[in-house]
């Protein structure tokens, strides 16, 4: 089971963070060549990210590189650094249409061929940051078999919607649309960054909301949030105990040749069994909630 609960943003121009972010053990790390890097440092950041990718610092952590848009003067050079460096995933910012994914897919394949990397081995992720992107989320999510996830990016989205970040109401439709697109495409969905680094209570409230909605995880800008997020997503001992009983009841019913599964006198539906298996898989992958 691939866990993508946390995606930690690391500025591609920060040697200190690139050299140390692995110690926080996020599920994914996202080396950012886009907004976090000033125009005059784009060249140096690209080389720094390439060299960092070549080092075995991030073993066991998914390495994502956010490139600049391919329509910018930097996007294609970023792609060279990321694909040749061995990035696991390329994150495309400001994705508005499926055509942009197709363009990225073709550009990635070209670099893979040029550098001898297996064609198709670089996966993709699209960030939805506008009303157009939200409206087209399903076609974006299904645009390429390389896509492993779509992410909602809150700051640009609320600006496009002519509003500001608030209690989450402003993101409600976008969250639901992106999530449904991801589920329909059978890929992962990532929620927005929580901007207030000192508001732990607000962060946990948002985590509970997005977990309940069904998001796989969140983009993060503060390493302190990783452990909180992982713990919130971990099943409790009670969850696991119940899941084991459900799975045992299903196995017993199958052994007895019964079509109906029963637990404590109540009928258990197939989706409940599936969910129980998912809980056990997640517990095995993440451990139990502390």
């Amino acid at each position: 089971m691939t866990l993508r609960r946390s995606m930690l943003f690391v500025p591609g121009s920060s040697a200190a963070m690139l050299s140390t972010a692995f110690i926080f053990k996020p599920d994914s790390v996202m080396f950012d060549l886009e907004d976090a890097v000033s125009l005059r440092e784009k060249d140096a950041a690209r080389l720094l990210v390439y060299r960092t990718l070549k080092m075995p610092l991030y073993d066991g952590i998914e390495r994502v590189v956010r490139i600049n848009p391919l329509s910018s003067p930097f996007g294609h050079d970023d792609l060279q650094a990321a694909v040749r460096g061995g990035a696991d995933v390329i994150r495309l910012p400001k994705t508005n249409t499926a055509d942009e994914v197709h363009e990225l897919e073709a550009a990635v394949a070209e670099v893979e061929r040029d550098c001898g990397r297996e064609v198709g081995s670089t996966r993709l992720m699209a960030a939805i940051e506008s009303a157009s992107g939200v409206v087209n989320a399903t076609s974006i999510a299904t645009a390429s078999p390389r896509i492993v996830g779509i992410a909602l990016a809150g700051f640009d989205y609320v600006m496009d919607m002519q509003t500001t970040r608030g209690d989450g109401t402003e993101l409600f439709y976008a969250r639901c649309a992106v999530l449904h697109a991801a589920r329909a495409a059978e890929i992962d969905a990532f929620d927005v960054v929580f901007p207030d680094l000192n508001d732990e209570e607000g962060f946990m409230k948002e985590v509970e909301l997005i977990k309940r909605l069904g998001f796989n995880g969140k983009s993060l800008i503060n390493p302190r949030q990783i452990e909180l997020l992982h713990n919130a997503y971990a099943p409790t001992q009670e969850d696991v105990d119940y899941a084991r009983r459900v799975v045992a009841a299903a196995e017993q019913a199958e052994a007895d040749g019964l079509g109906v599964i029963s637990l404590n006198g109540k009928m258990v539906d197939a989706p409940v069994v599936e969910n129980a298996k998912r809980v056990l898989n997640r517990a095995a992958a993440s451990g139990l909630r502390k």
Binding site: A15, S19, D43, L48, Y50, R51, R84
Partner: protein
């Protein structure tokens, strides 16, 4: 790669290095100031020289202020500074690979 102007790259933050590279008619001169120079000075110098050799930089003055940078950071910073000094904007990815 021919150096044409003085250029800088990197920072003085921990885990980074700051490099100043200047054109010269003399063979390459590399000065390294590092907090961990007594322990890793040879490795830092090797990373700097190897990167410049890869870029075919044979003349110039290079001054490095190291703050405990990893090998990957040293090579990236030297590469960026040399490209800036040479006025080169396209990375030769084939040579780098």
């Amino acid at each position: 790669m021919e150096l044409k102007q003085e250029s800088l790259a990197g920072t003085l933050e921990s885990s980074d290095l700051f490099i100043r590279i200047s054109p010269s008619d003399e063979p390459l001169e590399v000065v390294i100031n590092s907090e961990v120079g007594h322990q890793f000075g040879d490795q830092i110098r090797a990373a700097v020289v190897e990167t410049l050799e890869m870029l075919k930089v044979t003349k110039g003055i290079v001054i490095v202020e190291d703050k405990g940078a990893l090998d990957c950071t040293i090579r990236a910073r030297v590469h960026a500074a040399a490209m800036r000094a040479a006025g080169v904007t396209e990375v030769d990815w084939e040579a780098l690979s």
